[in-house]
């Protein structure tokens, strides 16, 4: 982080990151772990993830709640979708997005989280990155991480050989230690696996039929196969300490998603049907919440009776009457 402007913005976040790290480190040391050991620092990073992700829970819950509220506006949403059915040109798409967004706003059911949760995590990520980077040079942090702790953090090694600040590419160029490469490789595999699992869970089980038919869904599918590549590249370039943050965060997402899909599935999705089946087995199904409202919209009644042929004049009149 050589950019002064960015440093100024990141300063308060860095300070908090350091405070949480040092706090957990203090706790682990208090319990009796070696303050200079790599494991202690890894556990401190895990603690940092726990605090950050727990702080983001309210945002997540809010999002789930508005998704539930979507049930109520589903008929209106369906109306908009029907209006633009089969219209694939850019202007119709745009008009449809506009109407959908306006509906969300009016009814207070916006299911989108905004990019704030992502934006919030990014500086934390960068801060951890720069904290590790500075610590590696034996520098103190901006606040609670004093010179002594900074040096300790910078020198901390896993299994006595793999420094937390080391990267795969770094140890590759320096001809070792090979343990760094093994640990980094292992973490890339774990990260890919957990991300794959989370994403697959959402896509296979927690999507309404409408969402599955949308072009976004196809985009998500492509993403499923691109993300592992992202992990491989970052796994090569990022220090082990940062990787531990990312991995733990991924695991948290996996667990959180599992609970949500199990207990609060998207209405109309496969997970919702599975939940109904589970509840029905136990005899605890609430009838009001059971059936997905999206499918229960009555279609225009189809008459099987043959229409009598009418003269042009009468046909015009009849059509006029209908409208």
């Amino acid at each position: 982080m050589e950019i002064p402007f960015l440093d100024t913005i990141l300063w308060p976040i860095k300070w908090v990151v350091e405070l949480i790290l040092v706090g957990w480190h203090y706790l682990w040391t208090f319990i009796g772990l070696d303050p200079a050991a790599g494991l202690t620092w890894v556990l401190s990073i895990v603690g940092l993830v726990l605090v950050v992700r727990a702080a983001l829970i309210p945002i997540f819950v809010r999002q789930i709640k508005s998704q539930r509220k979507m049930l109520e506006v589903a008929p209106q949403l369906k109306k908009i979708q029907d209006k633009y059915k089969g219209k694939k040109d850019q202007f119709s798409r745009e008009a449809m997005s506009r109407e959908t967004m306006e509906l969300y706003r009016k009814t207070g059911t916006n299911p989108l989280a905004s990019c704030l949760p992502l934006l919030l995590q990014m500086p934390i990520f960068f801060s951890l990155f720069s904290v590790l980077n500075n610590a590696q040079k034996g520098q103190a942090g901006v606040g609670p991480l004093n010179a002594q702790l900074g040096e300790q953090f910078g020198n901390a090694t896993l299994f006595g050989v793999a420094p937390l600040h080391d990267t795969f590419i770094g140890s590759w160029n320096n001809g070792g230690p090979w343990q760094v490469m093994v640990i980094a490789g292992l973490m890339v595999v774990l990260m890919t696996a957990s991300q794959f699992y989370t994403q697959l869970q959402i896509m296979a089980k927690n999507q309404s039929p409408e969402a599955k038919a949308s072009p976004m869904f196809k985009q998500q599918r492509v993403l499923l196969y691109i993300l592992p590549l992202v992990f491989v590249f970052s796994g090569v370039a990022f220090p082990l300490g940062v990787m531990f943050y990312w991995l733990t965060s991924n695991l948290w997402t996996m667990g959180q998603q599992f609970l949500v899909i199990r207990n609060m599935p998207t209405p109309g999705s496969e997970a919702a049907k599975a939940r109904e089946a589970r509840l029905a087995k136990k005899g605890k199904l609430e009838p009001s919440k059971g059936a997905p409202a999206i499918e229960s919209i009555p279609e225009a009644p189809k008459t099987t009776q043959r229409q009598q042929p009418v003269s042009k004049n009468r046909a015009k009149k009849q059509q006029g009457d209908k409208k």
């Binding site: 009016k106 990019c115 704030l116």
Partner: protein, 103 residues
């Protein structure tokens, strides 16, 4: 002569257009549709920069990102329109003089 001046005036915003297009093609899809507004923050910023230039456009974009949080109502939020549209957009999104390519 004037076309050279126009090109120079438009250079910063066109550079920003290129960057934003790259961001929207490569990074945006990574986390999918999350914006609570229409147009999305990056699309809004792109339009703002195209219409108002790099400085005012970026400021509008930053202000939009600040307004876009989980407690915002969201909805349709277009770039405040400019009084007079002096330039033309290429299909890619670059800003050129209105007479560009004609004479």
């Amino acid at each position: 002569m004037t076309s050279v001046v126009t090109a120079l005036v438009l250079a910063p915003r066109n550079l920003a257009v290129l960057l934003l297009r790259a961001y929207r093609a490569v990074i945006s899809p990574l986390y999918g549709d999350v914006c609570r507004y229409y147009p999305s923050c990056s699309s809004y910023t792109l339009q703002a920069i195209q219409q108002r230039g790099l400085i005012v456009g970026s400021a509008l974009g930053v202000y939009r990102i600040i307004r876009c949080h989980p407690w915002a109502k969201g909805g349709v939020d277009d770039v405040p329109p400019v009084r007079r549209q002096r330039y033309r957009l290429t299909p890619f999104g670059f800003v050129v003089a209105a007479s560009h390519g004609k004479g």
